[in-house]
């Protein structure tokens, strides 16, 4: 019995030592959003191991903090925050990880933030973000700013591989530039058109591709639409000949479907977050959004 107890104790101590030991030579990165994670995978290549907290099809504004997320952050060297008050839940993960060596990178640093509220900011304006619209990764040129922030973080935590990360950053910048040209060419027939979005997620995307968001299904961020508001939108869509309505999969479809029935406006259903943290997922996300827009609005096929 004593020998058995001794074996169990030794096994338990071994498990704890393994759990707290640094694993391999790769830099572990935890990202709030898969888009940040995907860019980090591109820059870090095989020298990093990336995990994302928010799921592609879930609302990134409200993530329930699960202890295994803290466990991921406990073993990481870098935490990539979206910032601008979108992922406030990340603070609970960072604090809960109790990781003294975790470097937190705010990926919004250096971003030209849109829709910065003026005057008194309170909940009478709905779930408004006090520092401006936080969905900046949906402008692909901001992808380069995010990549630069990640590069700076990687250079600090893994100095010996700095040249490798810098080379990947330059490659990302160049590939992103080429991709932007191709996407703009695809979406060109729609340039200058007005669109409707369900939530205020698509302002950066619209700005990047020459579109204008002229109305939102939500009367205020986070507030469900009323009948009156939908009636106003029906008139607006007809008057401004809005090209399409873009909606996230985690919002109910009733109101967009009503607007579609009343006005014939096509509905583009896209998540603002990319599918996973693989290196090319960030680009593939824009490919998917633009292909869907082009397909539904009769634009230029790739």
């Amino acid at each position: 019995m004593k020998a058995k107890l001794k074996n169990i104790t030794i096994g338990l101590i071994a498990c704890i030592i393994v759990a707290f030991s640094p694993v391999g030579a790769t830099v572990r990165i935890v990202a709030s959003l898969p888009d940040l994670g995907s860019i980090a995978s591109y820059i870090g290549g095989d020298k990093v191991e990336v995990a994302s907290i928010a799921q592609a099809n879930a609302n990134p504004h409200s993530v329930e903090v699960f202890p295994s997320y803290m466990a991921k952050a406990a073993r990481a060297s870098l935490f990539l925050k979206c910032g601008l008050a979108l992922d406030q839940w990340a603070d609970a993960i960072i604090d809960g990880s109790r990781n003294n060596n975790l470097m937190v990178i705010d990926c919004s640093s250096g971003i030209n933030v849109l829709e910065k509220p003026t005057g008194k900011v309170d909940a009478s304006k709905g779930d408004v973000h006090p520092f401006g619209n936080p969905h900046y990764w949906l402008d692909p040129s901001n992808g380069v700013v995010i990549a630069r922030n990640i590069l700076e973080g990687l250079e600090k935590v893994d100095q010996p591989n700095s040249a490798f990360y810098t080379a990947n950053f330059e490659k990302f910048k160049s590939e992103c530039g080429l991709k932007i040209l191709a996407w703009k060419s695809q979406i060109n027939p729609l340039t200058g058109k007005k669109i409707i979005s369900y939530h205020s997620s698509w302002v950066y995307f619209a700005s990047a591709f020459g579109l204008t968001v002229s109305g939102m299904v939500e009367p205020f961020p986070g507030i469900p639409p009323s009948g009156n508001h939908l009636a106003v939108l029906v008139d607006l869509i007809k008057k401004e000949h809005c090209a399409f309505l873009i909606q996230e999969p985690y919002f109910p479809g009733d109101a967009p479907n009503f607007l579609n029935r009343q006005t014939g406006i096509p509905i583009v259903k896209c998540s603002p977050a990319c599918a996973d943290v693989k290196p090319l997922a960030y680009f593939a996300h824009f490919d998917a959004i633009i292909n869907q827009i082009v397909k539904l609005t009769g634009g230029k096929q790739p």
């Binding site: 295994s68 604090d95 809960g96 109790r98 779930d127 919002f251």
Partner: protein, 354 residues
Amino acid sequence: MLKSKKCLLFIALFLFFIKSYAGVVNPDISAIGQVIGKCTDDSASGVAKKPTLELGEVELMLDAALNPYVNGAFVFSLSQESFEIEEAYASVIRGLPWNLGLKAGKYRLGFGRLNPTHPHAYPFISTPHVMDPGIAKLLPGTESFNDVAIQASSLIPVGDNYSLTISGDLLQGNSFHPDTTVNTADFGFLARIDNSFLIADNIPSSVGFSFTRGTSNPAARTKDVVVGTDVKTKLTLTPIIVMTVQGEYIYKFGDNADSLHVISHDRRGGFYGFADAHFQNHYNAGVLYEQYQSPGNADNIDRGIKPFIGFNLLEESTILRLAYEYFMPHKGAANSTVELQFLFSMGPHKAHLF
């Protein structure tokens, strides 16, 4: 009443003080109020078939980082007649080896999954009888299991999608007995192991085990031991329908002593389980079932079933909840209770822990 006024004056001075020194030292402040309407045919309630409408408990919460290593929080509970410091604690969140965390102060103890959560977050409005120390008398305490304590905990990452949290609390022990004097011999103890894991990559689940022990009667030196196990999982059925399933079983090994110190055993258990579906971002609906062995006679079983629905306009800022409870006590007629809650809150909404 005078005490309540003094406390309100203290809060007013405190708020004035932090306003005067606004800046990085400003804590996050949030307040939650609620109006509760109730109608019951339970003859034991004293208000059978007389609808009531009351301002429920108001909570004022202040929390902030005290320095890079320590966070602090205060939760004041106010009603028209009373004032209570429900929680006041500091947590060391980093700087200690082995992912250790420390917490000290007065707080809702982490026995099981429901007790550490404030009731305003319950989708079924009021605490299930089995978890209410004042009703089922299984957990120590009065309204909740809450005590002055020091906690040490460690988060052990085991693999990418599995973590183990082990915690131990040394309790002042007054939640176990009405005697408010502090005697080190009456200190209590609480231990918990929480296993959190992902099933199939995207179904967060947790299984926990809790154990607590304390002195139920300091004069007679009797002890109460309560053990519990709990499970919780969250299923994303579609991107707009998410179902939470949670259950908890607790068992008490208690000893009671009468005025002559004659000891009788109190061995009883009970459980609750609920499923709560959130849909269309603003609605939820679910049902809770509970049963427990009655205080005083373990052979008798009390049961209750409670369907509930809710609507939130913008997260937790304004919530309307409706619950109907059909309660079947071991003796007497079954009774029905309808509760309507309008909950309103202001201030930053913190992340919800699973």
